[in-house]
């Protein structure tokens, strides 16, 4: 640099020298740690979230959860953190934590339909269909043709004992996402509930064609159809 520190009190000059030394040591220590522990120097794309994702991918769930939680605590306005933490909690079987985090994500980014949809599914998986219905409706207000949200809303309505409404919504979901086996499976079940067995079998045949896992449901629907008066 252009000038040398020839001015300033002795104390300031000592502080400057000490600072320079400590910064130098810190940079060397940081680079060395990264190379030794990660096998490479720090990458430009490294962030607490990408590194937590990497820990999660390695199966180091404790470390990943610790980093996600700390990011959420310090940088409370970051929308991505609660979403990723919720996804991790979902896979590790912490439903209430998952719902809390998706809730936080919707607060931080209320205009994102995908987050409302994920919150809806989290509620649904935890047998809270009324709250799920509300979350799916929020998602659909932002993205009316979203097949995933229509499917979720249909499931929530079915769980709440409103199969006719569920069939209407699930039919719309099937129109926007015709190759989704789970939607046809749900439509088959909903039609079976209201006694439209022929329709139920039709949808379950489609579901089975798309995904053989639905074979059992199809068999049950066929039996119900033959036993129906």
């Amino acid at each position: 640099m252009a000038t040398r520190p020839e001015t300033g009190s002795l104390a300031l000059r000592v502080a400057f020298g000490t600072g320079l030394l400590l910064y130098g040591l810190a940079f060397v220590a940081g680079m060395t740690w990264a190379v030794v522990e990660q096998g490479r120097p720090p990458a430009l794309g490294d962030s607490p979230l990408t590194l937590a994702d990497r820990a999660y991918a390695r199966g180091d769930l404790e470390r990943a959860a610790r980093e996600y939680r700390m990011v959420a605590r310090i940088d409370a306005s970051n929308y991505d953190t609660p979403k990723r933490l919720a996804e991790m909690l979902s896979r590790t079987g912490d439903p209430s934590g998952e719902i809390d985090q998706f809730h936080r994500a919707t607060e931080l980014w209320p205009k994102n339909p995908a987050t409302h949809r994920r919150l809806g599914w989290a509620y649904l998986h935890n047998r809270r269909p009324a709250e799920a219905e509300r979350a799916f409706n929020e998602a659909l207000a932002l993205a009316p043709d979203d097949g995933g949200s229509l499917h979720g809303l249909g499931e929530a309505l079915l769980d709440r004992g409103r199969p006719e409404a569920a069939i209407r919504v699930l039919s719309a979901a099937a129109s926007s996402w015709p190759d989704n086996a789970e939607i046809h499976n749900s439509l088959g079940i909903a039609n079976g509930v209201v006694g439209r067995h022929a329709q139920a079998v039709l949808h379950l045949e489609t579901a089975r064609r798309l995904d053989p896992r639905f074979e059992d449901n199809l068999e049950r629907a066929r039996r119900a159809a033959t036993q129906a008066p």
Partner: protein, 342 residues
């Protein structure tokens, strides 16, 4: 002869308009709006490049103020504490913040996030006035006050909006959800958002009554800052605003630095600019990428080390900028603010 003009550029009319004035960011904003927001194909294309652009522009602009501080003629004499004492103090405060991250981490982060829009406002104010002076547009006390209000409106908008920083840092969020505060907050946001976008235009219209209108680059600087905090906020694309702010800063700091260097040492301007940018990139890498791992090596968590380094480097940048851009004290002041010779 038309009284409306771009203003006297530093580099070229197009570069000043697009980079320093923020025209590029307004084009980007427009593209986001017409393509359907952050879920648009444009953002899908731009998204993967974001971390690299963020490093090369935004993170580098933070280190640019430090490089500029130490490269400034007579910096140690003029700013003894800033140059000699602040680095160690910063290191000590960062170490304490990381040690007690559970308690103070969120406050350090909120200080940085709350200060940030004020810093943007101050940069817009300074740049808008700079182009006025360079372009021979005289600014009286009353107009200076109007400039300040116009530039501060986006800061106040961001302060009220939050989330978590600004107002929500001082007042519990639940209290803000009660009536009448919730309605008042929404009203304040409309008022401040409108003021942020319209006051620069009002200033421009007022200036049309004079023999020379407000330079268009000054107007653009204020409008783009307002758009970053209102439109980008709305489209959740604010991360890109930090890139455009950094680009604006890098351009102007390079212009001032290169002028100093050429005057003092001669040589070619592009070479000085490249050396300056190279130093900024290297320092940014050490600060943002290597430094946090030193704390991890010392046994602290990665999240608090990385986040608090970012917050503290930002705050250091805000403090340094408060001093190094006091142009009236700068020997190069006449050089950058003088109107073109007749």
């Amino acid at each position: 002869m038309s009284i409306i003009g771009l203003g006297r550029p530093f580099l070229s009319p197009a570069t000043d308009l697009l980079v320093i004035g923020g025209g590029l960011s307004l084009l980007f904003t427009f593209a986001i709006v017409v393509s359907g927001g952050t879920a648009s194909p444009l953002m899908s294309l731009a998204g993967p490049a974001f971390p690299f652009v963020l490093f090369l522009v935004n993170m580098t602009h933070f280190s640019a103020s430090t490089v500029r501080l130490y490269a400034k003629p007579n910096a140690y004499r003029d700013f003894p504490f800033l140059t000699l004492g602040l680095p160690l103090l910063t290191l000590a405060l960062l170490s304490l913040a990381i040690r007690f991250a559970d308690l103070v981490g969120v406050h350090v982060m909120n200080l940085y996030l709350t200060w940030s829009p004020y810093h943007y406002a101050a940069q817009a104010y300074g740049l808008a006035l700079l182009y006025c002076y360079r372009s021979g547009f005289s600014v009286g006390d009353r107009e200076r006050l109007l400039f300040r209000v116009a530039c501060l409106a986006p800061f106040l908008y961001a302060f009220v909006k939050g989330p978590t920083a600004g107002l929500e840092w001082f007042v519990p969020k639940l209290a803000l959800l009660d009536e009448p505060w919730a309605t008042l907050r929404v009203g304040a946001l409309w008022l401040l958002g409108g003021a942020a976008l319209l006051l620069p235009l009002a200033l421009f219209l007022l200036s049309l009554r004079r023999d020379r209108a407000l330079p268009l680059i000054s107007l653009l600087v204020m409008v783009s800052n307002a758009a970053w905090w209102t439109v980008f906020f709305y489209y959740d694309a604010f991360g890109w605003a930090t890139v455009f702010h950094g680009l604006q800063y890098l351009a102007i700091v390079s212009v001032v630095h290169v002028k100093d260097r050429v005057q003092a040492q001669g040589g070619s301007a592009p070479r000085h600019a490249l050396v300056f940018y190279g130093a900024c990139v290297a320092l940014a890498y050490l600060l943002f990428k290597a430094w946090p791992f030193a704390y991890v090596a010392a046994g602290f968590g990665l999240a608090e080390s990385m986040l608090l380094v970012i917050a503290v480097v930002n705050i250091h940048h805000f403090v340094v900028d408060m001093f190094i851009w006091r142009l009236r004290r700068d020997p190069g002041y006449r050089e950058v603010t003088a109107p073109a010779a007749a």
